[in-house]
Structures are given as structure tokens and as C-alpha cells.
Amino acid sequence: MSETKESILKIKNLVIHYETDEEVVEAVNNISLDIGKGEVLGLVGETGAGKTTTALGIMGLLPDKVGHVVQGNIFLEGEDLLRKSNREMQKIRGKKISMIFQDPMTALNPVKTVGDQIAEVVLLHNHCSKAEALTRAQEMLAMVGIVPERYRDYPHQFSGGMKQRIVIAIALACEPDLLIADEPTTALDVTIQAQILDMMRKLQREHGTSMILITHDLGVVAEICDHCAVMYAGEIVEYGTLEQVFDRPKHPYTRALYQSIPSLDKDVERLHVIPGLVPDPSNLPPYCSFCERCGEKKGVCSKYDTSIVEVEPGHLAKCLMYSPSWKEAE
């Protein structure tokens, strides 16, 4: 990681478990991340890789009683969010960190007008009157490309793409320092996806907001991210700048991911498939989680685990391949 950049969010050795009577799900395993001011980080991975859990952990919104941060720190501008009281977190959410959720269809309260829902967050974090908050709500609607007069309408009167714009308006209403977008376009039509992404990138640049973009779509990452972190089974297996991860992928999983993207230029009979399944997160192996599915594995892979190492400046990968013992093996 480049030492020069000023970081806004720093995650250190974060471990999050979901505990029930029946099992413990190891959702996030010892991840560390650093997001610089104004930077856009793409968090990529399959369903169940722990992307959303990481986001909820940052927001302090892990499901009650079940979700636990077992260890680690999350520093927002030097302050550890995990040590904050609920009340302090309420002041941070919506003001300093905002989050956009996956499904815009259900993210808005059906019995409140959209204007009220945008004004709500404004009122919570600013000392202003209801009328001023509603004016701000109308400005926000205009900013995301909706006729401001529609602030009196209810969510069901908008289409999916428009709802996602409203959700974005809510998230940006207090000009947060960090925006977490959890698969913001997955639930939308492809044509709408591009519009929403364009708008998000534009707004992000205008306001200099830092952003974590969670997605399983590598195309989306390529389009708007500066940095990219690949997650697998609750771990970050590769991290680097967009060029590093896309042009010189170092982890076998990342490589396999690229091979499974359909390409228009190349004519292939079948898409490449990563064999096997994601390991059961309630029963992770004590060795490399990707080992079973890895095409480049050696005997040692099913014996030891390793930690993430820097393979070139600013480019990290978590694979035994980069440990000194690799060459000796076999």
C-alpha cells in the first residue's frame, strides 16, 4: 500500500462471526483494508464471500445478537468505530458514512413520501427546520435527476431505477466522507445500471467522497474503481490498484475469475468454470480456503495457511505461492 496517501478508513485484522445455537459462521476472516480520501475501492467476490458483512461491520449494523465483531479495529479518520457507543454511531451513520443497499425496491419506507425520507436524514444531522430540510430534499432530488416537485410522491410511484436514485440522494444528502455502495446496480436493468453508475461516479468526483463499491461484477469495478480488493471465503485474497489487479492478477482465484468472464472478442466453446464450491463458512478448513478449487495448488496448500503479502509495491496477494517455502515444496 502506498504510504503517502491520506486514509479515511482503515480496517485492521477484522474478524466477524455470526453465532447461532447451531453453528458459527466465519463471515469475515482477518481482513485489513485501507481506503484513501477520494478513492474508490471495489470489493469483489462471490455471494457469501463476506462483502456485505464487512460493510455492515463498518456501519455498526450487524444483525442483533447474531453478528459479532470478534476482533479487529475499524478506524474512521483515526477514531475506532468499534469503540463508539450506539449513540455516537448514530451521529456517524448518515453523516460521515452512508450506505446504499442492494435492493432499491425495498429500501424505502412505503408509507412515507420520498421527500420526508430524504429530509429525515438532513434533520437528524443538521440543525435546521423541517421546511429547510424539505428544500434540501428537493435539491437532492434534482441532483440525482428527479423532478424536485415529486418530493410529495410515495416510493411505489417510482420505478426501480428512480428508487435507487432516491436511495442515493438519501445517502448523499449530508455529504458523507465515505459512501458504501452494496451492489447498487444488481437489482436494476442493464441500461439503468449504466446510468446509475455514471451518476454515482459524477457525484463522487464532484464531492470528493471516498467510496467502497461492493459488487460481484468485474465490469463495474473496471468502470469506476481506483483500487480493487478481491474477497474469497471471508478473506481478502488480493488487493491492489485497478491496473495491478486487472492486468497482473497474482492470486489463482482472481485469475480464474477473469477466465470465467464471457468475452466478445474470443470465440470459446464453453465458459471457463471454477471447479468445486465455496467452502462452508461454518466449517472452514485450517489451510487455504481456496485450495480445493485451485488449479495451481501443491501439496503444501492443504497443510498450511498463509497471510497476505506484498508481491509488488501496493499489490498484495494471499497465496502460498509467494511464501519462501513454495519453491522447496515438491
Binding site: 448514530q90 424505502l108 419506507n109 412505503p110 417510482f158 420505478s159
Partner: protein, 324 residues
């Protein structure tokens, strides 16, 4: 909107025709000859057959049914009580009012207690508070109302002498019947409120509100409650209708002169026109109340309004227009 109301009103017609048909079938199955019932045992055969002719009992059943419905529609004639020779309708209307008062009180008691307990139990889910609330409210739901009534009478009237055991001569007389019906419905409101609250609290928009930095208290009362109240209001509406006619047993236990007691008394006196006529009047009242309740939901849930206005389509069309 007006179109929807008219449509719903038109739908009433087949239902009311059906109900009157059921009652009419029961009426024809009724043992005994109405002519003899009216004239008494001293009447001669000639007198009876003359009366039968007069009552139209010799006509085909279908003709009798048409006449029966015709009488109801044109003259409000639901039959004549054997006992008093008064029209059933005029006997029932004052009693309906008494029953309605008790029902309103009972529904208010049940709903207020139920909603409060339901919220409590949802917020303290899976704790002993939650279990206790559910078990107690379920006890009152599962025990027949009249047993609770008997216990209340024994305690408050027989032992403590603070409430009258029967009758509604004083306003105090209303307390126990209302309490009995109310308590028995607490459980269902508690349960509906609880599950609806829990469901709403797990909705995405609650998470959105949390992500805004909203306090838990405001999330519960401003975001969740209004959404959670929709099914509760629906069930209040349904029970409003049902308890008017369902209070038969309790009205008898407490000697309340309501419609329920009227029908039970008529059953015991073998006064069939009153029983069936009364049941028909109640069914009509209920159906109308249910319609009114349905219509009032449009006021609670803004989603319903556009659904209904756009002709009952499941997806609101307005959104599409706005997008274009």
C-alpha cells in the same frame, strides 16, 4: 375511487342473495308448520290450510324464496316474531345498538392492550417478557369467553359486590362483558402486532433508516409502527363485525339485551322467524361493516390508493409514466 366503491357495493348483491338463500333453506327445514304455530293448537284443519294458502306455503319453493327476498327488499320485512307478533327488524335494531356499544368497547380494550403487548413482545423478542406476554394472552384467547365471564362474575359480583352480575341497567354493567370479549381478542392482536412488527423491523427500509443514523426509538415508532399497523387494522376491522354477532354466549351469560341474546332466547322459545330473520339482519350489517372497513384502509396505506384507482391492477402504472 367512486368506481371502486360502486363495484364493491354491487358485489354485495350476490353475497346477500346467497346469505338469504342459506337462511331460507334453514327456514324451510324448520320443523313444525308455521300456520299451526301462528294459529295455535286449537285451530281446525280448514283454518290451517286457509292460513297456509294465505302465507303462500303451498307455492313452489322457488316462488316462496322470490317472495321472501321481495318482502325484504320492498318492505324491510325479515319476518314476524311468533312471540310478540312484532316485525323482527324493529325488535332487532335497538338490540343491535346495545351489542354495537359492547363490541366497540371490547375491540378498543382488546386492540389497545394487544397492540401495546405486541410491541413490547416484538422489542423484547425471545426473552422471558416475550414468552410471558404470549402465554398469558393466549390463555385468554383459548379459554371460552363465557368461562372467563363466569370467573369475573364470581369474583366481582358474587364475592366483591362491586359490579352487577347481570344486565346493563347501570353503565357499570357494560364493564364485564366488554372486558371478557376484549381479553379474548388480546392474544390475536398481540400476535399480529408482534409478528408484523418483527417482519417490518427486518425490512430493508428499517436498515436504511438505521444507516441514516436514526435512533432506535424513532425507528420503532415512526418507521416500523405505521407499516406494522396495516394488518392489525385489518384484523380490528374484521373482528368489529364478527363480535357484534359473536357475542351471543356472553350476552346470555351477562343478560345483556343485545342481538345475541335475542337470538339465543328465540332459539330456546322455538321462535324460528326471529332466529333466522335476526341472523339475516346481522349478516347484512356485518357485510356492510366489512366493506366500510376495507374502504377505510385506503386511508392508511398509500399504496392501496393507486392500486385501486388504476382499476385493481397489482402494479401501479403511474410510476411507468413518470419514468418516461
Amino acid at each position: 375511487m367512486a368506481k371502486y366503491v360502486i363495484k364493491r357495493l354491487l358485489l354485495l348483491i350476490p353475497i346477500l342473495l346467497g346469505v338469504s338463500a342459506i337462511i331460507f333453506v334453514l327456514k324451510t327445514l324448520t320443523p313444525g308448520d308455521p300456520a299451526r304455530q301462528i294459529l295455535g293448537n286449537d285451530a281446525t284443519e280448514e283454518q290451517i290450510s286457509a292460513k297456509r294458502e294465505e302465507l303462500g306455503l303451498n307455492d313452489p319453493v322457488i316462488v316462496q324464496y322470490v317472495r321472501y327476498v321481495g318482502n325484504i327488499v320492498t318492505r324491510g320485512d325479515f319476518g314476524t316474531s311468533y312471540r310478540t307478533n312484532e316485525p323482527v327488524l324493529s325488535e332487532i335494531i335497538p338490540r343491535l345498538w346495545t351489542s354495537a356499544k359492547i363490541t366497540l368497547g371490547a375491540v378498543a380494550i382488546g386492540a389497545i392492550l394487544g397492540i401495546l403487548l405486541g410491541i413490547l413482545s416484538a422489542l423484547r423478542k425471545y426473552t422471558w417478557v416475550d414468552s410471558l406476554v404470549l402465554v398469558i394472552s393466549m390463555f385468554f384467547q383459548s379459554v371460552p369467553e363465557f368461562v372467563v365471564g363466569l370467573v369475573l362474575i364470581t369474583v366481582f359480583a358474587v364475592k366483591l359486590h362491586i359490579l352487577p352480575a347481570a344486565g346493563i341497567d347501570t353503565p357499570l354493567g357494560y364493564i364485564m362483558p366488554m372486558l371478557c370479549i376484549g381479553l379474548s381478542s388480546v392474544a390475536s392482536y398481540t400476535r399480529i402486532t408482534r409478528s408484523s412488527m418483527l417482519e417490518v423491523l427486518s425490512e430493508d427500509y428499517i436498515r436504511t433508516a438505521r444507516a441514516k443514523g436514526q435512533t432506535e426509538k424513532n425507528i420503532t415508532y415512526h418507521h416500523a409502527l405505521r407499516n406494522a399497523m396495516i394488518p392489525v387494522a385489518q384484523s380490528i376491522g374484521t373482528s368489529l363485525g364478527n363480535s357484534i354477532g359473536g357475542g351471543m354466549v356472553l350476552e346470555t351469560v351477562f343478560s345483556v339485551p343485545g342481538v345475541g341474546k335475542y337470538i339465543v332466547d328465540s332459539i330456546n322459545q322455538r321462535n324460528y322467524p326471529s332466529v333466522l330473520g335476526g341472523a339475516l339482519v346481522i349478516a347484512i350489517v356485518l357485510t356492510v361493516i366489512n366493506l366500510l372497513v376495507d374502504l377505510s384502509f385506503i386511508l392508511i396505506d398509500p399504496r392501496l390508493k393507486s392500486t385501486i384507482i388504476s382499476g385493481g391492477a397489482s402494479k401501479p402504472k403511474k410510476a411507468k409514466v413518470a419514468e418516461a
